[in-house]
């Protein structure tokens, strides 16, 4: 303890949690008098245990590097990937092949470039897409099961190429990769909070870690210094759960918006890397979804339930019982209109969204939503009006008016395309809606080999790598769905090759 205490001066004056206050030079071996007493030494340290961290761990270990350590700050492994929906874009997947669908990494990249609105990196996207089959095979070989015959066209893609895990969650991937990594000799530790990088000029040589940390209390655990001989891989995901940071980067993100992410997605390691000179890009590109529900945590069932509502149902303000938007318009339009529903004290007046129960009584999207009380079955307009505190007469009038527009297949109020709209009559399935923060397109800029670029000279920093959502400038304005899983898993293959080639020199 005494030895370690003498090094606590590295952290002197540093407000814990406020990484902006760290002074890089203080953590360098050059300016610190005595050399650091390392508590332990490894070849590679990977920070984070989601898709990117676990794939990196397995691939780096398999490439012949002996000592690979994974540090996870939470009590559970898997990060935000463990609660991801398990959709995975794989051009050339076995189902496409059996169905004769022609696809390629280049076609996927084409779709991603369109969604990126000129801000995506074609080279990075290509490098990632080229490893999609490798990543898919890693999953299958690790015990992940994908739904038989299931290959879907998901939002923004021009072709059906997204497969999905049997359990419907990325947790099926992370929990299996965790086991494989462990069985192959990767050292995986939870409750490890990385407080700082230890630098030697432009090179990261180790980490200052709060061991046995108990999230989120930064006074728990004890400080240790861990040396990384061959490099540090940042696989810490995004920062969507960091409200303070999101607000600084994008003032349009309303503080009343919840987030789909796991609690640990707070991005402090990204900030630490920045404090040591890493270049971060596109940080204000924070993806939100208008399909959230305030009545469940995480991504939840809401998006799937609303895939029915947007087409067949209607959305009504609880403030006046009237429709206020085109239910089928894009994310940004819908978010803005939903967020405008406020009580006088500016608190959210969650709008209600509903469709006919009798059209989907056995649909899994309905059954689970009702079971988990994030949606409710309402047998009459009066019952619905009472529950959500709306004037029953106005609500009935709004439904009648909408039904007239449905019959005419024309929406003079908001110009919604009415081809899929249905005549509405109780019983209804009703849920409440409010946008959620979802994904960070921004992060650490890397070269094509996952080396983190330094802001000092725009050259790669030594021994510092990043993969997955922690990186930035890959997707541009919009990340397409099912591509986060791909990015994290593929990154592990790329970074393993880079680390090996960097260590041959």
């Amino acid at each position: 303890m005494r030895d370690r205490r003498s090094f606590l001066k590295f952290g002197a004056g540093v407000a814990i949690g406020s990484v902006a206050a760290t002074i890089p030079a203080m953590a360098s071996t050059n300016d610190c008098g005595p050399a650091i007493k390392w508590d332990e030494t490894h070849d590679i340290i990977i920070i984070g245990s989601g898709f990117g961290g676990l794939s990196s761990a397995i691939n780096i270990k398999r490439s012949g590097i002996k000592s690979v350590l994974v540090l996870e700050k939470m009590l559970q492994f898997g990060g935000n990937s463990a609660i991801n929906g398990g959709w995975f874009a794989v051009p050339g997947n076995p189902i496409q092949v059996s169905e004769g669908v022609k696809d390629s990494p280049a076609l996927l990249v084409q779709d991603q470039i369109a969604a990126g609105r000129g801000m995506a990196s074609e080279e990075h996207l290509t490098a990632i897409a080229n490893r999609a089959l490798d990543a898919f095979n890693l999953c299958v070989d690790s015990g992940v099961r994908f739904r038989e015959g299931f290959n879907m066209l998901v939002g923004g893609h021009s072709i059906a190429r997204a497969v999905r895990t049997v359990d419907g969650t990325g947790g099926e991937i992370t929990r299996n990769l965790y086991k494989v990594a462990k069985s192959e000799g990767v050292d995986l530790r939870n409750q490890q909070y990385v407080e700082d990088f230890i630098m030697e000029n432009n090179k990261v040589i180790g980490l200052k870690v709060r061991r046995n940390f108990r999230y989120p209390d930064l006074t728990t655990g004890e400080i240790v210094f861990i040396k990384a001989n061959k490099g540090v891989v940042v696989a810490t995901g995004g920062f969507a759960m960091n409200k303070q940071l999101c607000k600084l980067l994008d003032p349009s993100i309303d503080p009343t918006m919840d987030c789909t992410n796991a609690k640990g997605a707070t991005g402090e390691v990204t900030l630490t890397a920045m404090s040591h000179g890493a270049l971060a890009v596109h940080m204000n590109m924070i993806q939100t979804g208008h399909w959230g529900s305030p009545d469940e945590g995480g991504f939840g069932w809401s998006n799937a339930l609303l895939s029915i509502t947007w087409h067949e149902g209607m959305v009504v303000s609880v403030l006046n019982g009237k429709r206020f938007m085109n239910e089928r318009a894009d994310r940004k339009y819908c978010s803005d209109r939903i967020l405008a529903n406020r009580y006088e004290d500016n608190s959210p007046a969650y709008p209600i969204a509903f469709f006919n129960y009798n059209d989907h009584p056995d649909d899994d999207r309905v059954v689970r939503a009702l079971r988990d009380e994030m949606a409710w079955k309402m047998d009459s307009v009066e019952q619905m009006a009472t529950k959500f505190n709306i004037d029953p007469k106005t609500l009935q009038e709004s439904i009648d008016l909408h039904n007239k527009h449905v019959a005419e297949r024309k929406d003079p109020l908001f110009d919604r395309v009415m081809d899929t709209a249905k005549h509405l009559a109780p019983p209804f399935v009703v849920s409440r809606i409010w946008p959620k923060v979802h994904y960070c397109m921004g992060g650490l800029k890397t070269d094509l080999g996952c080396r983190v670029i330094g802001s000092k000279n725009l050259e790669p920093m030594k021994n510092l790598y990043a993969v997955g959502e922690a990186t930035g400038g890959v997707h541009g304005t919009t990340r397409l769905s099912s591509c986060a899983c791909l990015e994290g898993l593929a990154g592990g293959f790329i970074v393993a090759e880079t680390i090996n080639s960097d260590n041959k020199v």
């Binding site: 245990s49 898997g78 469940e296 079971r371």
Partner: protein, 123 residues
Amino acid sequence: MFKSLLALALSLTLCSAISASELIEVKGKTLGRENHQFIYKDKNACKSCHVSGKKSTTDQACVDCHGTIDTIKIDPKNLVNSHANPHASVHYDTAISCIACHAEHEKKAPLCAECHRSWFKEM
């Protein structure tokens, strides 16, 4: 020896429900679980779980006595639905610490409840 004593005591008090033993005052004002009362009789009781200081702990002591998560079965009768089994979670399986869900000194809802709000109660 202490460990085997713990194991014996536990084998007598283990139950299969998703539940925890009652929270009672075990040492002064410190709250703890009724079935752990015997631990608190020891003068080094805190060190049983807090090996490196009071503010940090892992689930090592839990596992030493109760076994790993995959060996502790939950009676399906006590689940709100078949998906709601924290000891066979599709998200984590074995990749999770006991103390992500269980607390010794306070009532706590399991981690799952962060998203699946209607599935679990504090225990």
